[in-house]
Structures are given as C-alpha cells and as structure tokens.
Symmetry: C2
Subunit: 332 residues, 2 copies
C-alpha cells in the first residue's frame, strides 16, 4: 500500500480495528472483540453496566474511558461514523450482569438511531437498557448530523459521573438519574484552527485560511457560528465562555472545568487557555472545584479546543472525585 | 498584539510563565514560582527530593511530572532553552528537606552546564546534590546541542523510577543508583513528520516535504539519520525498533514500553503504532510488562513519535508499579 498522507497507519480501512487492538495490548485489563469493535473490561462486574460509543477518531473517547469507575464497554464505528446496532448489542451483552445497562449517547442522528435499535434488540433478549443523550455543545441549535445540540467533550464528565454512580452499587434508574443530572448541568463550546484528515479520504474536508479560525465548529468539522481571524488565548477564552455563560446560569456555583484539545493542539496552549478561562471564571465568582486539561475528546489531528463547564452539587462532587482507572483518565 | 500563527497563546514571550500558571490553576497541589519558572509540590516531603527540568515545549514534561511518586519540582527554561542556574537553585532549595536532592538531567550541553552550576551553588549552601544524565536516544552519537546521545522520552521512566525510590524512603545514593540503573536499561528512537513552530519565531525551523519524514530527529528538530518517504505504521515500528535492538540486548527480557507522541500526532496513530511494536517485540521473545501510549515528551506541535524500551528487573518493576499522581501520569 502506498501511504500518501502523514499518518502513522497501515491500511486506511483498518485504522479502527488496529487502534483498538493497540489499546488492548497496552491495557491488558481491557478486552477487544474483533470485527465488532467493542472494547470492554475483561472482568464483568456485578453492577449496572455503563456503555458508550460512536464514531472513531475522537480518541481517547470512547474506548479510552473503559475501566474501573467509568465505562464497562465502548462500541466503535468507523471514523466519524456511528457503530451499527449489531455491534452495540454485543457491547450490551458483554457487560450486562443482570442489573441493566445504561447507554451514554452523543446527540448525532446515526448514534440515536443505532443505539435505539440496539436497545430494541436487547429488550427482545430481556436485557433492561436505558439511555441518556448528551447535547452539551451550545454553538448551534441544530447541525449537519444532529437535530438539536451536538454532544461533544462534556460527554467525558457524563462517563465519569455515571460510571462512579454504577460503581457505588446504585440501580439502573439511579445511575440514569445521576447521568441526567450531569447532562442538565453541562455546557460546552469549541473552536477549530485546522481541519482534520480522515485516513480513508486523505485530504482535509474543508479549508481554513492561514489566519482563520472557526468558532463553534463541531468535532467532525461541522460548521460553527463564525469564521474569524486568529485570536489570543484570552480572546478565545472570552468568546467561548461568554457563549456558555449566556446559555446557563453558572453564577455563584462550583463547577468542574474541562479544557479540551482537539488532537493537534499542544498541551502548552491548553494550559495557557486554562489560565485565561480560570481568570475569567474567578471574575464571575464561579469557583472551579476540579480542572481537567488535555486531549479528552478529539477530532483526529484537528487543532483547536473546547471548554466545558459542569455545575456541581454534593453528589456530583463525590462522583467526580471517586477513583477511576482507564487509559484516558485515572483518578486516585 | 497581532497573532500571526495558529496557536492559542497571548504574547509569544510569555508562553512559559502562562503555561505554568495554567498548570498550577489546574492542579492546586502544585505551586508555581513566577519569574523563576519552578513548579513544585505544595507540601515539602520528608524524603530525598527528585527534580528535573529543561527547556519548555515538551509538555507535559517536565512540570507535568511533579507530584506524589515522581518529581518534587521541575524548573523550566524558555522554549527549547535550558533554565538558568538561578532558577535551578531555587528548585533545589524549595524541595530539599535535608536529605539531599537528585537532579535528573537530559543530555543537552546547556542543561549539563546550568544544572552543574546550580549543584555548585547548592554545595556552597550545604545542600547535598547528586545528578544523573539521561542519554537514551540511539539515533545519533552526537547532536546539535549535545555531546553524546540526546536525552528524550525515556526520561519519563527515569522520573518514575527515581521518584518511586525516593518516596519509599531510600537515601540519596540509593535513589541515584535506581535512576542510574533505569538509565542504563533504557533506549529510545524517534521520527518526525512535520516541524514544530516556536511561538517566538512564528514559522517552522526546517521543512519536510509533503511525503517526507525524518528518522531519528531530535525533540528540538535536531537532524536525525535519514530522510525518507512516509512509511506504514508497521514499517515505522520496525525501523525504530531495529535501531534500538541492535544497540542493546533486550532479548528474553521483560520491558516497559513507551510509545510516545511528539504533540501533533493523534492518539489513534500511537495506538496503531503500539500494535505493530508489540507484535514485533513478541516475535523477538521480548515480554512487555507495562505499556504507556500517549504524548509524554513532546516537541510543541511536531507530528511524529518515539519508542522507548526499559529492561526491567524486580526492583524496577516494583518502582514502576508504585502509585503516582501527577498531571502527566497517574498510576493507582
């Protein structure tokens, strides 16, 4: 095969299976089911299962959040493409311990349809399945692949909260309620500076000029709200936060903050952005209880970022602080 | 200020102080000393201190490895530029608890000189200081900024081993001996696909053609051993591993493996590379005891990777497995 783009891959059509195999090899506590593209915890746990999934290309999401205290399994589609129901039902069966399964779905039409079909299949087999849908992106009301708001990096907080609640021994309705509470309290907003290149396509799906960025772009390159010139970190923080704070009243509350990179932006810049975000939040009397900075929900090699806030109460704080151990997030 | 490159920064001259401030804000257990660019653990620990440092631009290294079980402080220079001795002596003073300080230095002439001068200053103040020098990069015998082999991603393993040994209550000579053992057992080799852009420069320091990669390039863009066309992940794994395995006899041993990204390469590709590396190691009867995959020692937004192997014995396994809690690596 001739490789004609600068990616460390083999066959472009095999990137998903090879990446998941590489993840299993790096993390022996996870097991990978070939062809069905499911990563699951090797030991089935006697508790409510929490699963998620979606298109690949957002690594570490979602397979990288499988492990103690977060997900029990993640089901991957092809790059930027929803997993089919036959894959999802496999993830459900692998993880159900008789206490039911919560599916955490990002709001994209393909995911909604396919996870919904898998839920129907599970019910035929008497497996109790509930689902929650993450719609944290305040950028646009509807988008290319979604009716209603898109689900983006805030999903990682939902994995953490639902996973911790399930680990605590709560029942399916309690786990769902905790996830719903998190979802209701989460808002995100992002921007992109460069397009990403899909392995099977080999060239960018759109063009941003040398001095151009797009505010509100989605994690699959979906249109945002504005193309503008390159901004300082302080300006980026303000643009993204303003949109979040207009949408939801975080004033005088405690929050969890995620400063997320889209894959191609170095950690140096994310920490600089974090400084600006935290200074703006302090001015607004919004207290940051916990901060995550890094590449948590990416778009292949896209450069750019997103900011996520989750309003906390005592229950969410406790669930956020609970230990977890996954490739993408470890808390001890 | 007009920003004329696609980076999330403010003033290019302030990136180091702002990134470290952003790190302190994200991790309240760390304390940042302005102007001296020192990140240290907020609580001084009654044990041998382990410190490191070097130029910025390699995030999370080194400040991101400060915390329980790894470093007590990291001292940063400007981007790709060694910290001055007055900064380093501050890091030494902040962390010395009367049991001495081990400095982990990457083999670059500036670092060797400045950490050496700081050691002299410390001795004038009756602080016992020892140092070890990491020279893990097998690519070239000497390089632009080093006499002898460069220190690259293997340094992260040295931080882990020395930090765990110090945490166990060992004395300074014992901590140094553990670090020296790790260094003797570590080999790394990397490649780059795109140059990085220094914030203060605003344009790439060199050019790689559209279908060109450089085998053995350093983490500051120093020349490697060969420019060649883009390779598959399998080919990259073989080229890098072959060079490592010729240099050191890892056969029939257990190793720790680090598949490291240089900043601009997405995690998807690093996991695919990990699959190829692990398959080649299995063919050689080299058993992988523990694997790290991710951006551990970067070069700003450079795309590319490195592979590091550390041969393990019982002591190194125990030290590698010991819990740690830092922004860049958490083990529980």
């Amino acid at each position: 095969m001739e490789v004609n783009m600068k990616k460390i891959i083999n066959e472009p059509t095999k990137v998903v299976s090879e990446l998941l195999k590489g993840m299993e090899l790096a993390h022996p506590e996870l097991v990978y089911t070939e062809k069905l593209e499911v990563i699951a915890r090797r030991e089935k746990c006697n508790k409510v299962a929490v699963i998620s999934g979606g298109g690949a290309g957002h690594e570490p999401a979602h397979a990288g959040y499988v492990g103690k205290g977060m997900l029990d399994a993640a089901i991957s589609g092809n790059v930027f493409s929803s997993p089919s129901p036959d894959r999802i039902i496999e993830g459900i069966k692998q993880t159900d311990a008789g206490k039911g399964v919560l599916m955490v779905i990002k709001n994209y039409s393909g995911d909604i349809m396919n996870f919904g079909l898998a839920k129907d299949l599970a019910e035929l087999e008497d497996i109790e399945v509930e689902s929650v849908v993450v719609r944290d992106d305040v950028a646009v009301p509807d988008s290319t692949y979604s009716t209603g708001r898109r689900g983006i990096a805030g999903t990682v907080f939902v994995h953490k909260i639902a996973g911790a609640k399930a680990e605590s021994g709560a029942d399916l309705q309690e786990v769902k309620a905790a996830a719903e509470k998190a979802i209701a309290n989460i808002r995100s907003m992002g921007m992109a500076m460069t397009p990403c290149i899909l392995p099977a396509v080999g060239k960018p799906g759109f063009v941003l000029e040398e001095n151009e960025i797009e505010i509100g772009m989605g994690i699959h390159g979906e249109p945002g709200v504005e193309r503008t010139t390159v901004k300082t970190a302080k300006e980026v923080a303000k643009i993204l936060l303003d949109k979040i704070l207009v949408d939801y009243d975080f004033s005088n509350s405690e929050v969890a903050l995620l400063v997320n990179g889209l894959g191609g932006t170095p950690l140096m810049e994310l920490y600089i952005l974090n400084k600006e975000v935290q200074e703006l939040l302090a001015e607004q009397n919004i207290k940051v209880y916990k901060t995550l900075v890094g590449n948590y929900m990416t778009a292949l090699d896209m450069s750019g970022c997103s900011i996520t806030l989750m309003k906390l109460d005592d229950e969410l704080k406790e669930l956020l602080d609970a230990p977890c151990n996954t490739p993408g997030l470890t808390i001890n």
